[in-house]
């Protein structure tokens, strides 16, 4: 035990004297969180810790005939007009020009006799014209689609059941649509860009501690200090454990720095499950140490180990959406990375989700880390930590 402490303290002292390592491990993640968080989020989101607000968009409308009362009433509703300002255009050509110039975000063309056709169950259709910005299109369609669905229901009902069915709608002549922020969290909160990148960069940079461990294990060999120590009355396992403990402590210090600085400097809300967060960090340390040990024991040079660990970190961070969130098959592949489960655990804490849901992600992370630790122990038992 004494040997482990002596080796760990010596390693810590040397690591903390390496300016390059300190900058890379402690300062760089904070800078990247700041840069990505600032570049990819609205300024009002920074540090709010709650869901981002939706900027109102502008809708251009043209009526090819008498103005539709149904459409006018709908667009004037509270909850719709808050998110979509309407401007009246004179023609379809004018609308196209406005969309091209970016003056409006989305356009709606109302056909002649629209209201009459709806009430009589006749054929009619609204023309929706998308603008240049996809997020604005999505906002417009998320507001208009429910309205159109409701109108389609009415037309179908009138067609099948006759005009008397309109009596059922007499108390609510205009379909109502409520627009509200997505409620991903239990408290109706959504995570900010800062939170997203704080979680993914925490995970990614904790993995870089593996490079420190690999460097220190290879360094003893390259320095020939390992040979000297093996000629001393100490057990190789204790020496090895001391190196792992030191790298684990550095990784823990790094996690603490990222969490505290991002919390107090950038206002990142890390949730209300501090012990769960500590658990995720410890599991990440276990994973990182296991990965570093396995790679170091399987490779023959420091350069090889560093290249492999670097590649693993980059590929896993990318696939897990650590740099940019993915959808579809890439997202499904990302689920096979440790980064995904670690980030997911942290993000669920940030969203104040129930402990059970957080625990599910943490359990997967624990399983992955456990398996890797076992593999690294088996490799150590088989190959040892040779001095040359």
């Amino acid at each position: 035990m004494r040997t482990i402490v002596i080796v760990a303290l010596n390693q810590l002292k040397r690591t903390l004297r390496m300016r390059g390592v300190l900058l890379n491990m402690f300062l760089l993640p904070l800078i990247i969180i700041f840069l990505l968080g600032t570049a990819l989020s609205g300024a009002e989101d920074i540090g709010s810790g709650t869901g981002g607000t939706i900027e109102p968009i502008t809708l251009a409308r043209v009526d090819n005939g008498a103005p539709s009362v149904l459409v006018t009433d709908f667009l004037g509703q509270e909850g719709v007009s808050d998110y979509m300002k309407t401007v009246q255009a004179e023609s379809r050509e004018a609308i196209q020009e406005m969309l091209r110039s970016g003056e409006v975000s989305y356009a709606l063309v109302v056909p002649p006799d629209f209201d009459q056709n709806v009430y009589s169950g006749g054929e009619t259709s609204l023309e929706l014209i998308r603008g240049k910005r996809e997020p604005d299109n999505q906002i417009a369609e998320s507001i208009l689609n429910p309205f159109i669905d409701t109108l389609n229901d009415r037309i179908a009902a009138v067609k099948e059941l006759g005009p008397q069915v309109l009596m059922a709608y007499s108390n609510d002549p205009t379909p109502r649509v409520r627009v509200q922020d997505g409620a991903l969290g239990a408290r109706g909160e959504n995570y900010t860009t800062f939170q997203y990148y704080a979680a993914s960069m925490l995970v990614m940079f904790m993995m870089y501690a593996g490079m420190t461990l690999s460097g220190s294990l290879n360094g003893e060999r390259d320095n020939r200090t390992l040979q000297r120590m093996y000629a001393m009355p100490i057990k190789p396992m204790h020496l090895f454990a001391g190196k792992v403990v030191a790298a684990g402590i550095v990784s823990g210090m790094q996690a603490l720095t990222i969490i505290l600085v991002s919390k107090f400097l950038y206002g990142v809300d890390w949730g209300e499950e501090p012990w769960m967060l500590v658990g995720v960090c410890l599991l990440m340390i276990a994973f990182t140490m296991g990965m570093a040990v396995a790679v170091t024991l399987l490779t023959s040079s420091h350069m090889q180990s560093v290249s492999i660990i670097q590649a693993i970190i980059m590929v896993m961070t990318f696939l897990s959406g650590g740099f940019f969130p993915f959808e579809g098959w890439l997202q499904r592949i990302g689920m096979f990375t440790v980064n995904h489960w670690a980030s997911e655990s942290v993000l669920r804490m940030m969203l104040h989700q129930p402990t059970g849901r957080i625990g599910a992600s943490v359990a997967v992370l624990a399983a992955i880390s456990g398996v890797l630790l076992l593999i690294s122990l088996a490799l150590y038992a088989r190959k040892g930590y040779a001095y040359e």
Binding site: T3, I6, Q227, R228, M229
Partner: protein
């Protein structure tokens, strides 16, 4: 009294024999110079004594303790000065020695005293707070020694401790070896430099291709080498008939020719020199230079192995 007893030790790497049935004893309190070219098996032998390398067969005992059975006990008795510098550049000289001293179990006031003593011994007491990165090659070598002696080991193994350093530091290190020996340590000193071994060793062991080819006091080895004097001459032209006649001479053991340079190994240069000059004259070979070499360990080594130490 025998301190290290190496009995019939064999070490193989795959199919290659690195140490071949080696038998060697080191007396307590002596400095044994271990000589041999690269690949002779010196480092493997040292590695086996230190418990760094496993022994395939045979037995090594240090101070009556078996390396194979009680490696930790043996390691407590020894201090290894590795061939290459084994230091931490980010730690000061004092921190380097302190770290290794702690691993030997030293602590508290004794730890501080021994660290100071070791630095003083190698003449680095006023550089204690400086990092080795700022040191000269010689100072690094001295610190390398300090890191191996602070626990006052009974056996010090120095594996080529003077490689690449200035003469002043070399003298300092050689003087340190003598002093450590006077203080009671048994020393095994390996080197490529014959003159170093001659300067510090009470006994010399010569290894080649895993075998011990000679072992004895310097006096014993010199007597053996005395039968191996050498005449080197530069002559022109060097014809085959000249070389043949030299080889046929009953008092010349071996003749080596390289261009116009001829080297002859013989028991007595003085007795045969006249004949050599006569033969050269008969073959109309003009002599540009002539040198008679007194016997030394280098020539003994050359004669025993057919190559020089630094081959």
């Amino acid at each position: 009294m025998c301190f290290i007893e190496i009995s019939d030790v064999v070490k193989r790497y795959d199919n290659r024999l690195s140490v071949d049935h080696l038998n060697l004893n080191v007396e307590e309190g002596e400095v044994l110079g271990l000589l041999g070219p690269n690949g002779a098996g010196k480092s493997t032998t040292i590695g086996m004594i230190c418990g760094l390398i496993g022994i395939d067969s045979g037995e090594i005992q240090v101070g009556g303790v078996s390396v194979r059975q009680k490696p930790m006990e043996v390691k407590r008795m020894l201090g290894l000065v590795p061939q290459e510098l084994a230091l931490y550049n980010k730690l000061s000289a004092e921190e380097n020695v302190t770290f290794f001293a702690r691993l030997y179990g030293l602590r508290g006031a004794l730890l501080k005293e021994r660290v100071r003593e070791a630095l003083e011994f190698v003449g680095l007491e006023d550089k204690a707070k400086e990092q080795p990165a700022t040191f000269s090659g010689g100072m690094k070598r001295r610190l390398n020694i300090a890191c191996a002696i602070m626990h006052r080991p009974k056996l010090i193994i120095m594996d080529e401790p003077t490689v690449g350093i200035d003469p002043q530091s070399r003298n300092h290190i050689l003087e340190s070896v003598r002093l450590l020996n006077r203080m009671g340590s048994t020393v095994i000193y390996t080197s490529h430099y014959m003159e170093e071994v001659e300067a510090v060793s009470s006994r010399v062991a010569i290894m080649d291709k895993g075998h011990l080819i000679a072992c004895g006091t310097q006096q014993q080895l010199r007597e053996r080498a005395a039968q191996q004097e050498r005449i080197i001459l530069q002559a022109s032209p060097v014809s085959e008939s000249l070389l043949e006649e030299l080889r046929e001479h009953p008092h010349i053991g071996r003749v080596e020719a390289e261009g116009e340079r001829i080297a002859m190994y013989l028991p007595s240069a003085q007795r045969t020199l006249q004949d050599v000059l006569f033969i050269c004259a008969r073959h109309q070979a003009l002599i540009a230079s002539l040198e008679c070499e007194a016997p030394n360990l280098e020539s003994l080594f050359l004669n025993l192995t057919g190559r020089t130490l630094r081959d």
